[in-house]
Symmetry: D2
Subunit: 261 residues, 4 copies
Amino acid sequence: MKFRLGCELEYDVAENSVFIFNVGVNQQHQTILSESFVVNSHLEYEEFTAPHEGNRFQRLVAPPGELTIVYRAEVETAYRMDNPDLIEEVPIDKLPPEALVYLSPSRYCQSDKLGRLAFSIFKEWQPGYSRVTAICNWIFGHVEYLRGSSDQHTSAFDTATERAGVCRDFAHLGIAFCRALSIPARFLSAYAYQLQPPDFHACFEAYLGNRWYLFDATRLAPQNGLVRIGVGRDAADTPFASIFGPAEMKRMSLLQRFSFE
Amino acid sequence: MKFRLGCELEYDVAENSVFIFNVGVNQQHQTILSESFVVNSHLEYEEFTAPHEGNRFQRLVAPPGELTIVYRAEVETAYRMDNPDLIEEVPIDKLPPEALVYLSPSRYCQSDKLGRLAFSIFKEWQPGYSRVTAICNWIFGHVEYLRGSSDQHTSAFDTATERAGVCRDFAHLGIAFCRALSIPARFLSAYAYQLQPPDFHACFEAYLGNRWYLFDATRLAPQNGLVRIGVGRDAADTPFASIFGPAEMKRMSLLQRFSFE
Amino acid sequence: MKFRLGCELEYDVAENSVFIFNVGVNQQHQTILSESFVVNSHLEYEEFTAPHEGNRFQRLVAPPGELTIVYRAEVETAYRMDNPDLIEEVPIDKLPPEALVYLSPSRYCQSDKLGRLAFSIFKEWQPGYSRVTAICNWIFGHVEYLRGSSDQHTSAFDTATERAGVCRDFAHLGIAFCRALSIPARFLSAYAYQLQPPDFHACFEAYLGNRWYLFDATRLAPQNGLVRIGVGRDAADTPFASIFGPAEMKRMSLLQRFSFE
Amino acid sequence: MKFRLGCELEYDVAENSVFIFNVGVNQQHQTILSESFVVNSHLEYEEFTAPHEGNRFQRLVAPPGELTIVYRAEVETAYRMDNPDLIEEVPIDKLPPEALVYLSPSRYCQSDKLGRLAFSIFKEWQPGYSRVTAICNWIFGHVEYLRGSSDQHTSAFDTATERAGVCRDFAHLGIAFCRALSIPARFLSAYAYQLQPPDFHACFEAYLGNRWYLFDATRLAPQNGLVRIGVGRDAADTPFASIFGPAEMKRMSLLQRFSFE
């Protein structure tokens, strides 16, 4: 499928500030047909890509005044699903070394504190893809999607009891449950087709069979409507913009021309 | 029923320290037939009773050296149970004013954060005594009683997810659920008949019908085997000993002669 | 000094809801010259006063629709200050029993976790009134008063590190420090003369010498411009309105006629 | 300098369990002269090394029974210190991309919540090596090294207020402060010469000038007496053993023959 997508971000910069953007789509498992990253005033920027995860960054120093960046891309994705009944959990001794780091607890996914809860809910499930589906179903059924109910400090440990949150909280809880059950899981930021209201989306990936499979406990977007941006341990690794300096976001809009053929 | 009970506490005191003990049984809903509170070296102490809750305190200043206190009592309790099906929750507008304070969140019972969880589990239950029983059953079924799994900072918010604890954690979680459902609930420390190993016990009371009813989610002691000591918002209000100064407990033993006729 | 003060609160009530207001001024240490509590539609309400603390409550059941309450009072206060140099901390063994409960940690004042911090900052201070003043000065100097930086779940343990908050956070931290140093301390809600913007105010009281002394780490109002409403362990005990049911506040205004002679 | 070092770990394994050890010394910045990793019963194991950080792992499946591993190595380190006055902090826009991940908050280092505290204490310091030294001095002066005062869930946010901990807590707080000040910082597990009692040690590295510099806020070992094992975001990344299955450690001893020439 082909998607046209993008975003426009506008900031008020009080003093020289460094911005690191992660809005460009990931080149793993999808093909960029065309792409542009435009900064107002033709400010110079540097690009680099994280070697493993493929997250792509633009770094720049913005002078005082207004900063606007516009990102646009045409992307072809190759969403592929396998027979869920045949996708198994991978025993720890067979996991590829690079997946092991996604078993550790992280800032927003304290899997070390969720072990008993995860076992008590999910221990009876057949290990495999269907167990991670069960995790998503449980989150969908027990956590209310409610804007304003959580903030940037909210973690899976909070959501497990507070039972309300937004997409990133749903993803964090899913990740924490997976890790507690010894399934590697990682956070994914994404452009989501027809997400209402338009916004960056968050979901997660679990390592099963012999690759990372996508899961979205919010059910807000079709799985094949997601275009991957950044992956990491949790939201701390994948902000669409990290700002170092006194700057404030004035406007963010996801391009409406998001479409597919 | 008549109980013989008591405790022996021994401390090493490095410098002058103030001790406030709350080991004497409560005179509400039970009758003290005989009682003694003995401090070694005939140290002077002061006694007072909290006007509402009836908690009884001994306060003393211990000089450096060893401090031993021995408490013994013969108590007649009048455990009374009513037909659970007839015990209703009290609408907020009918609650006696003195019960209202037991609706507020407290140090270890953050009912303000447990509202959604409480509703999602217990909203279908018929309000009344049986709903608090359902809370206890849920705790018994979902939280493992495990010495060493919690400490003095552990709160209901932790136990809701960590799913392990001891009697005080079971009580805190029961209280927090009740308050979240607008049922006044309070902590109770007690002597418990044949508790193994012998120790002070903790359970809770909920205000239903027109009085406080006892609940114990641990199922470690028969309800009619509990002798009431202190009531309060949570464990912060009812330590068997508050110590102000450099002193250390060396030994605690619950008298083995605990018996009943 | 005489004050004219009051508030007007307006709610949208979706279904029958119970309201418990604590907006009426406390009769301890101040004299009510005249007072009115008016509910729209002449809804009936019940009044009661907490025996120790003197907090005054109005309880009512509001039917669906709009609920408005208007409270007005003329109050004479007798602010009295003593020579700070002569106000001493009270040894634990000399504290009146009713003050002891204000040594315990509470929902928002986890003094049990702040002991080392309190000692490390304040141990060198001369015990007494000036040490509590030092606590207030420290908070004023180290915590930024910033609307929106905290929420209803924020506690002293958070504020100790996050270093930003509003009046209730300043009070909670002050209380937690006092209790950690074995000084009884309690939360006070108040009408504050010329507070900008007009709002209910929060400060705290510490038990020193032989009475409760007022402290306000925010420096937002003159001490003799505070009119006492509710006292309790922390903000959990003294909301100006507790609502049980689906109702939402539409408007709150503190009467502008607050004046004094 | 040359070190002889090692460890001996013994476990009781109840059922087949996977172990991942990270006890082998890192090959970055030090040279292994000789080395052995011996597992009892000649159990097979797999070895791999994390590409960036150089952490070295042994993975094995242990059958029920006793598992003992003995690791020994002779290592030559080349501790190098530069003139502290010439070591500068690196502006965000000049940081090598691989250092950026060490600016993000992690499980035990919630730098997102420590910003104001870090600024209030360290903002006046000259940026550079000496500012990280100031962080270490502050931690050494304000946090008590006390075995048993913290546990495996304790994080920098706790230690900032609780003011007690062990080496890993000292490291976590140092890391969190650095990241809050936009200095990349990472956790380091190490063998420490003459550490008493012998144990694995934890300290941290900060990215300054153009490389990672070692810091140890505990002052328990000389900097040139540390032999590097694992680096990561925090203790979650660098356990000396990760165990998946019902196994229990029975004994751990650091080889006493640790020596140097």
